[in-house]
Amino acid sequence: MISKILIANRGEIAVRIIRAAKEMGIKTAVVYSKADKESLAVKLADQAICIGPAPSAESYLFYQNILSAALSSKADAIHPGYGFLAENSHFSDACRAMKIIFIGPKSNAIRRMGDKAMAKELMRNSGVPVIPGSDGIVDSFNSACETVEKTGFPIIIKASAGGGGKGMRIVDEKKELERAFNYAATEAQQAFGDSRVYIEKYIGSPKHIEVQILGDKHGNVVHLFERDCSIQRRHQKLIEEAPSPSIDKDTRKKLGEIAVKAAQSVEYDSAGTVEFLYNVDTNEFFFMEMNTRIQVEHPVSEMITGIDLIKYQIRIANGEELDIKQKHIEQRGHALECRINAENPEKDFHPNPGKITQLRVPGGPGIRIDSGVYSGYTIPPYYDSMVAKLIAWGTNRKEAIDRMKRGLDEFHIEGIKTTIPFHKEVMKHKEFLSGQYTTDFISKYMS
C-alpha cells in the first residue's frame, strides 16, 4: 500500500497531486528547485526537499537527486505529473530498479507510445484508424515521394520523437517536398537529437479531439468520454471543453471504444489520453498519438463525470482493480477550462513573470480553480507561464460559457499581465459559441 508519495513536479499539478493524496490519507513530499522554495506546493506538502538550482536540467529533470530524495524520505511512490520526467521510460525504469512505484503506465507502454511513428504502426495493426501516410519512418526523399503518391497533397512531415510543433512541415506541392523534408529532419535532429520523420496526409482545419482513458493492472480499461482541445496557439492548447460540441452520441460511443482498443493494445495501466484528429467535413477521425500521463486539461473530464483521475492513477499504481465499469460512467452537464498564463496577449503572448501583488480568484457555483500561486507570490522566470486553470461547469454548454465569462470577469490579478483578456474575447466569439471551431481558430480569428 502506498503510504507516501514523492511529487517530482512543480506548479499547479504538484498542488493537484498533493490534494488527491491528502484526501486519500497518503503523505506527500514535494521536490523543488531553489527558485521554487516559496511555491504553494512547498507550503502544502507534508515535506519539501530542495533538489537543485533553478534550471530544470539540474533539478526537475535530474533523476539522481529525485530518486535519492524519494529513497531518503522513505516515499514508496513517485508521481511525475506532466512534462519533465512524466513520459520518460528511463526514469520509470529507474524507479522500478529502486523499488519505488512509478505512478504511471508500465515503461513499455511509455516507450511504444513515445515513438510516434511506431505508435501509428501499432495502432494501424490494432484496427485503430490512422491518418493515411507513410508506413513508419521515411528515411529518404525517394521514400517520401512514394508515400506522397499514395496520399496526395497536402501532406505534413513530423518528427518521430517530436511534439510541440518542432520538426513539422506542411507541404502543398511536389516541388516543395525535398526542401521541406530536409528542413524537417534537420529541425528534428536539433530539437530531439533524432532526425527520423514520418509523413501524414494533412487535414487543413481539423478538430483536436482526445479521449480520457483509465486502465488498471487487471486488464480493465474504461474511457471518460472526449475532450475538445481545438483552441490552440502554435500547438499549445489554451482552452478545452468536454463534451465536444460537434461530436454526436454515436460518434462519442465509437470514439470511446476505439480509444479503449488503443489503450488495450499496449496493456495500458494508468490514466492516459488517446488523441485524434477529427475531420469535421467528412466526419472521419484518425489516431494522432497517445499521451501516457495525466494531462493539463484533465479537470474538464473530472467535472462532467465526477471521477477524480489522480486518485484513480494512485489506486491503479497501487495495484487496485478499477471499481467502475463503463456503464457506470455518466456525463453530466458541460465543462470548460481556460489556461491562464502570465503572458501579455497584447504583446504576442510574451511571458510576463513577476510578483502577484493582489489576487482574488473567482468562486461560487460551478467554478473550480487549479493553481499554484497566491497573493504575494513571485512567479519565477524559469518554467512555464501557466498561473492558473479556471474551470467552469454548467448544466449545458451555454451555462458553462456564461459561468466562464463570469469567472474571468471576477478573476483579479495585480502585478502581472495574463491571458484573461484573450479568453474573454474567445468566450464571446461567434465561431467559438457555435462550437464548430477548429484548430486554426486562433490564427484565423484572433491574430
Binding site: 531553489k34 522554495k37 530542495c50 537543485g52 537527486n65 524520505s73
Partner: protein, 161 residues
Amino acid sequence: MIFKDFDLKKLFQLMQEHEVSELSFKDGKTEISIKRGREPIFVNTAVPVREAQATSAQTTAPRPEEKELETPSKSEIPLENYHAVTAPLVGTFYRASGPDAAPFVEVGDQVKTGDVLCIVEAMKSMNEIQSDVNGIVKEICANNAELVEFDQVLFKIQKNG
C-alpha cells in the same frame, strides 16, 4: 560626525533592535537615508522546509529575510566568518563509514582539504564529501541517517592554515 564613536557591529545591533531595515549615509555633504520596518515576511509554519543556509563559499552575514526563513536550527553559531560545507546532492547523511565505525570528524577536529567529512548516500551509492578548506570543525549541522537537501549546510568550519 555622528558616527564618530560607532563601530559597525554596534550599529547593526542598534538597527536590529529598532527594526531599521535600511540605512544609507553620505559624509561629503551629509546625506542620510534610513528605512525602518520590514515587508511582512511570510513564515511557512505548515511545512518544515529545511533551508539551505549558505553556499559553499565564504559566507557573509545573512540578510534578515533569510534569517526569518530558517527552521528552528540547532545552530547557535552565526555563519559569518565560517566556511560552510554544503550537500552537493540529495541523499542520506552518514557521519561514519558504517554502523560500527567511528565518525569521520567531530566538533573541534582539525581538518584539511581533501579529508572526508561524511557520506551522503544517494540511490544506494555512497558519496564521500570532502573538506575543501583547512580548518577546525565548529559545528555538524545535519543529523546522522537523515535526509539532506541539495545545498544544505552540513558543516561549519573555521578556516586556518
